[in-house]
């Protein structure tokens, strides 16, 4: 019994030292990225990883004056890997949600792409909510966009729900849909910049009501690393202010991805 007690004491003592040592100055920060969510992160043919998330990670590292070491991690193991100290932060387009807040600490958002409609070019030059009446709108089934559309416009429009957005893209080019509502980044890279989407454009306002669409995408750190979270927050402000953020944004998008 005594032995176990001694062992436990040593164990907790050791643990407190490691915790203490983590309160040190951050010189290198290991950042997990995903690599399968273009244009935010994707693998190049030569095996290197690129994208908006990756550029942001490097820019933030520069602003914080630390070295960034990228660790590639698949999506399902993202948060477990962070808690297991395989890396110190996640920059992988992970939305800030209440459920995740129970497990990890979040920084402020580093981007928040608005939800938008797309339609045939020139079809809705004066967009108001009234023109939606009687239109057929495609949406991915049971997403936040579906819930929003159903609650806001459900009575006035015909809603067609799809298992994935690719099916909705097929139906809008076939003329079965007047509009599609989805995340603007997904629409932009998945359709508008592709050959069969070239006749279509964003219409209407940026929709980013927090009640429906959450608080945006943040960087995840372990809960106890509040100092690291603060450093990231400050760095986000820095790159927002010095134009670095806009430079990265313009490399991938032709619209504002930060939101208000």
């Amino acid at each position: 019994m005594k032995k176990i007690a001694v062992f436990l004491c040593c164990f907790f003592l050791a643990l407190s030292f490691t915790t203490a040592s983590f309160a040190k100055e951050w010189k290198t920060v290991r950042v997990a990225v995903e690599g399968a969510y273009p244009p935010f992160s994707y693998i190049q043919p030569d095996g290197s990883i690129e994208g908006f998330d990756i550029d942001i990670a490097h820019a933030l590292g520069q602003a914080m004056g630390v070295e960034i070491v990228l660790v590639q991690q698949n999506w399902d193991g993202m948060i477990p890997g962070l808690l297991a100290r395989k890396y110190d932060a996640i920059i992988a387009s992970m939305s800030i949600t209440e459920e995740r807040r129970k497990k990890v600490g979040f920084t402020d958002k580093y981007y928040q792409t608005p939800v938008k409609f797309i339609a045939k070019k020139g079809a809705y030059t004066n967009f108001t909510e009234a023109v939606l009446k009687g239109k057929t709108i495609g949406v991915q089934r049971e997403t936040i966009h579906d819930k929003y559309l159903t609650a806001q416009y459900g009575k006035d429009v015909k809603i067609k729900r799809y298992g994935n957005l690719d099916e909705a893209y097929l139906d809008i080019t076939a003329g079965r849909l007047d509009l599609i509502i989805a995340d603007s980044a997904a629409l932009y890279t998945g359709f508008l910049t592709k050959e069969n989407g070239s006749d279509y454009e964003f219409v209407g306002p940026d929709m980013m009501d927090e009640k429906w669409f959450g608080e945006g995408v943040g960087i995840e750190v372990r809960k106890q690393n509040t100092k690291l979270a603060e450093m990231f927050n400050k760095a986000i402000q820095t790159i927002r202010a010095n134009g670095e953020y806009k430079k990265i944004q313009d490399k991938y998008f032709n619209f504002d991805v930060y939101g208000k």
Partner: protein, 234 residues
Amino acid sequence: MDFSIIQESWPIYFDGLVTTVWLTVAALVIGLLLAVPLAVVRVQGGALAQAPIRAFVYFFRGTPLLIQMFLIYYGLGQFQWMQQSVLWSLFSEAWFCALLAFALNTCAYSVEIIRGAIVATSPGEIEAARACGMSRMLMLWRIILPSAFRRALPAYSNEMIFMLHGTALASTVTIVDITGAARIIQSRYYSPWEAFLTAALLYMCLTFTIVFFVRRLEKHWQGHLLPARVSDFE
């Protein structure tokens, strides 16, 4: 397991049930009405008349129903001439594309079922009909088709059940049938078990309804053909 979510979302399932029933019934009726004349031509027509029917049956029995529906729904929608044609008002509707695919599919299978039943008509009956001086049409109408339908019924009841289950594919082209309802509930509450089990139960009820009525028809029409022992068991 939490079946209170099913109670809450019952209206969605009910709408889905209605959609499934009418899709199945409409597809079966259209399919059968087309299949009977095609089967007759397939048996009695010349080689030239048979060829297109053979090709039709070969295609629809040789490819999955899902592919047929995707070809009609997504495939045809791709062509400009299709989008500009007068038929587009029909083909732009998901229900029409699904119904067309289902009807043609069940038609192809039914042609084969009925053809088999016609071929199996006993030569004695045909000889007797000839001896009575019946014309070909009259013989078909009075002798061959009635007995062929009786023989075809057990195989056709299978086809009816297959078609019922086949309509589950309608949910892949935005139609909210029973399966479509289950998919909505599944992704709304993240509870696939309850959602799909409910759908399965509904399909089972429909299947047994079909089985029940076919049983009665069989007893009515071919009671004299059933072996005595089977009726002892029932």
